[in-house]
């Protein structure tokens, strides 16, 4: 099978314009005859649902939270990139494109990434028009800052709550369409499966989380905007409810899953404090603009720190190792996320970590406060400093913050073509749920950009092209396939409720997370991955025979919800391990210890691995089939990423 990415021919800068022109249009009077299902109401989902409803399509929008405004996009802190070049510092669409391709370690498609950079400028216009209160300069124009890995200031922000403000903007547009009657909202409703008829996506099966009712919904097209799968690691910066179920169910119905092993470990999170920990909290990467990352120069000093004999501020300047500044003089503390994370792991592996567990490094604002005054630092990061103090009980104005990497984002996801369509016709994946724009590593402030680009400016064109080829006839759920899939969903729920084992769901989730973090996390080896695969298979067996799910289906049952999700994480975990085993190279967030340069940097193998690894589900208990999409680079020359 050959995967067709459908990247239009022609010069890079003209691809999208030409593609939009050659896409078919749906007659304005016919738009109301098409129904579109949107699952997930984060940046991608809310913007897509609102934009499609504005065009005249009938939209049904689903989210598992109690309101669309709760989607996890809301937690993004730092900002959103756009190639506006408002700062006159040499930015351009091409530079944003180039930075994104390079930052992704040359594992993303040129065509998609260029389009992303191209529409980025329109996103900012749109959000400002909605009343998103971005930070401004005294002259009244928009402020920018530079952000992890970029040497220009192209990041727009709203204090440390950019994701919140962008999501509330998209939510307001969505709410307007709900009021107009063009969007029907289904909160506290979780997608349980996809219905495929004659090879095309025709609807979904959902569970009402309040009543437990399993229901079917038919549509002409289905959009999955369901976010990433970072919670496979149990501990991550994702929200507790973030899950892979919608994407995984779609995968098992025929949608290929691409590059699942590409996960991003974010360098600046609050370190783990104990076994009870339920999630990790991110401290925005923007902190690295002013904070300096360091550990003690020797293991002896670090040991004294860990025993509480000395404090960070007692350590003399010459005994501090600003390891990022030392190793990467030109980028310093602003090296991309994967590089910063890996180096934090190295110094901690050397025994120079700074908290009780030995798994933390300092992020120090002493020099920035001296240079800029405390007031300026408060203005920039006040809410982040407060949050840190709240969680750790320590004051970062007085003592350096302690940080450690944590799982944050998943670059992998459902395989999509240039139209954002998966391998199942009529099924689309947007935002973090797809694999497309970030390659093997995502740059800071690019997730918000991608979510909104997909929802506001890509899908309104591409979904129209597909719908125009379908007859404008009403759809319903009378086809027997709906009843069949619904029965399967009910069967699975009953099985989970009737296992009546001895261990709670989290017991399994935590164990899966440990396996994934240790063997498929920041550094991976062939041996470790092989062991992980066997462990996951055994754990999966144990789950299905010994999990204990209390309550019934016909009520709000949070344990049942969790059990459903963890069951899918167990299957995904194994595929991630397979993918990591297959990729005999190091690139971006995927670091195989066997493949590194003499000075410990990632060693890519462009000759053999410059491809997207798309996995095809073949059936219960069978190994998935690898299908390759070769990446073609016509504009960018592949080089080793160097931030020295």
């Amino acid at each position: 099978m050959i995967l067709d990415s459908k990247i239009p021919a022609g010069p890079l800068a003209e691809k999208w314009t030409k593609h939009k022109f050659s896409s078919k249009l749906v007659n304005p009077a016919n738009k109301r005859k098409y129904d579109v299902i949107v699952v997930g109401t984060g940046l991608a989902g809310a913007s897509a649902a609102a934009s499609l409803a504005e065009l005249g399509y009938n939209v049904k929008a689903f989210c598992f939270q109690d309101s669309p405004r709760r989607a996890h996009s809301i937690a993004a802190q730092g900002g959103i990139n756009a190639a506006k070049n408002y700062q006159n510092d040499g930015d351009s669409i091409y530079r944003l494109f180039y930075d994104t391709i390079k930052g992704g370690d040359y594992r993303a498609r040129e065509g998609n990434v260029y389009r992303l950079a191209e529409v980025s400028v329109k996103i900012i216009d749109q959000c400002v028009a909605q009343g998103v209160p971005f930070a401004r300069e005294y002259g009244g124009l928009l402020a920018n800052r530079s952000f992890g890995g970029a040497q220009v200031s192209r990041t727009f922000y709203a204090r440390g709550q950019t994701g919140q403000q962008l999501l509330l903007g998209a939510y307001s547009a969505l709410s307007r369409q709900v009021a107009n009657g063009k969007v029907k909202l289904f909160p506290r409703t979780e997608m349980m499966d996809l219905v495929v008829i004659d090879g095309q996506a025709k609807g979904i099966v959902t569970r009402n989380l309040i009543t437990g009712a399993v229901e079917t919904h038919a549509a002409h097209a289905v959009l999955l905007c369901t976010g990433g799968y970072g919670n496979v690691f149990f501990l991550s910066t994702n929200a507790m409810g973030s899950n892979v179920t919608a994407a995984w169910r779609a995968h098992k119905r025929g949608a290929f899953f691409a590059n699942p092993c590409f996960t991003q470990i974010h360098p600046t999170c609050i370190p783990v404090s104990g076994d009870h920990q339920s999630k990790l909290t991110l401290m925005s990467e923007s902190l690295r603009n002013d904070g300096r990352v360091w550990v003690p120069a020797t293991q002896q000093i670090a040991e004294k720190l860990r025993k509480g004999q000395i404090k960070a501020n007692d350590i003399k300047e010459e005994d501090r190792d600003y390891f990022l500044e030392r190793k990467y003089p030109s980028f310093g503390n602003l090296v991309p996320r994967d590089v910063a994370s890996r180096n934090a792991k190295y110094v901690c592996d050397e025994g120079r970590g700074v908290n009780e567990t030995g798994e933390a490094v300092y992020l120090d604002f002493r020099d920035a406060i001296k240079r800029d005054t405390r007031k300026i630092i408060e203005q920039k990061y006040g809410n982040l400093f407060d949050m840190y103090k709240q969680i750790t009980g320590e004051d970062p104005y007085e003592m350096p913050m302690m940080i450690y990497p944590a799982v944050h984002y998943t670059m992998g996801g459902l395989w999509v073509d240039y139209n954002l369509m998966t391998t199942v016709p009529g099924l689309y994946a947007l935002g973090e749920a797809n694999f497309s724009e970030h390659g093997a590593n995502r740059l800071g402030a690019s997730a918000l950009m991608q979510g909104l680009a997909d929802g506001y400016f890509v899908i309104p064109y591409t979904v129209g092209d597909y719908l125009a080829q379908l007859a404008p006839k009403p759809v319903d759920d009378t086809h027997p396939e709906f009843a069949r899939v619904k029965a399967e969903v009910q069967g699975r729920i009953n099985t989970l409720l009737n296992i009546n084992g001895t261990k709670p769901v989290d017991y399994f989730h935590k164990r899966l997370g440990k396996i994934m973090w240790n063997e498929c996390g920041m550094a991976r080896t062939e041996e470790g991955l092989k062991g992980a695969k066997a462990e996951i298979q055994a754990l999966k067996k144990e789950f299905w025979s010994n999990v204990k799910v209390m309550g019934t289906n016909e009520e709000l049952n949070q344990t049942l919800e969790k059990a459903n999700r963890v069951a899918d994480f167990l299957e995904l975990g194994e595929l991630m391990v397979d993918d990591a085993l297959n990729r005999n190279e190091s690139c971006g967030g995927h670091f195989r210890e066997e493949y590194q340069t003499p000075d410990g940097e990632a060693l890519r193998d462009d000759e053999n691995y410059a491809y997207v690894a798309a996995w095809k589900y073949l059936g219960e208990g069978q190994e998935e089939e690898l299908v390759k999409e070769e990446l073609v680079f016509e504009n960018v020359k592949l080089t080793q990423r160097s931030y020295k």
Binding site: D66, R70, A71, H72, K84, S278, Q390, K503, L556
Partner: protein
């Protein structure tokens, strides 16, 4: 730490509900409040009892999903969300009472989970600028004074958790509604629909069964995001100037 927990249990909206007492052993000071409940729930499951249901999601104080009325205060003793509250705020041997938000417009769904969809309907009544995707001016075409943009941002930080309603003796939603009305009334983008927005959102708020505002300031005192009651004053001005020259039919 060893704690006694008095938790509100209610099977569903129709059930009458009541308090059940649990003992929480081995609580560490570094745990968040919700992690303490996670541990309790795992113990309940192992004992074959139904876990306590509560809303939560991001656990970093921004999604607004968590709630809980703890010892008579929404989100507990600190001015923060429950998910950001840690057990170091409590002492060994303490009894903690945990209830759901209490308001007519927020019916209990189960245990500590309430239905806050009334907030969504208030926003749907007018909490937006009516612009379609595309066809908008360049972002820098309209300069906005930094002071105004900052004030709008102060109001826009509302996370829609409902603590203001839970704190208010009248279960008023004025702080929530006024935060959105203020944000858009301050910004040039919100001017065109300024009057109809204030009228419609206030009308929806009343229709949902939220109470009146009597200026006690309890909402501001308990708001985890520090939303100021000056927003309520601004909304009142907006509302009254709107109704005297109403454009709503």
């Amino acid at each position: 730490m060893k704690l006694t927990l008095k938790i509100w249990r209610q099977k569903n909206t129709a059930d009458k509900g009541g308090f059940v007492t649990y003992v929480a052993d081995h609580v560490s000071k570094d745990m968040s409040f919700l992690e303490m409940l996670d541990v309790l729930n795992d113990q309940l499951t192992e004992r074959g009892e139904d876990p306590v249901h509560f809303d939560h999601d991001c656990r970093e104080g921004i999604c607004g999903m968590c709630s809980l009325y703890i010892n008579g205060k929404p989100h507990g003793p600190l001015q923060t969300t429950t998910c950001q509250l840690h057990m170091r705020s409590f002492s060994d041997g303490e009894t903690i009472t945990i209830e759901p938000w209490r308001a007519k417009a927020f019916p209990v769904v189960k245990d500590l989970v309430v239905n806050r969809s009334a907030f969504d309907r208030i926003i749907q009544a007018g909490g937006y600028v009516s612009v379609n995707t595309g066809g908008v001016p360049d972002a820098n075409e309209i300069p906005i004074p930094k002071t105004i943009a900052d004030l709008a941002m102060d109001a826009a930080q509302c996370i829609g958790c409902g603590a203001c309603v839970a704190a208010c003796k009248n279960a008023s939603a004025m702080l929530f509604t006024s935060a959105k009305v203020s944000q858009l009334a301050l910004l040039p983008q919100g001017q065109v629909e300024r009057k109809t927005r204030a009228e419609k959102m206030v009308a929806q708020m009343d229709a949902e069964g939220f109470g009146a505002c009597t200026n006690t300031g309890a909402c501001e005192a308990e708001c985890p995001k520090g939303i100021s009651i000056t927003n309520i004053a601004r909304m009142n001005r907006e509302y009254f100037s709107a109704v005297v020259s109403s454009e709503n039919m």
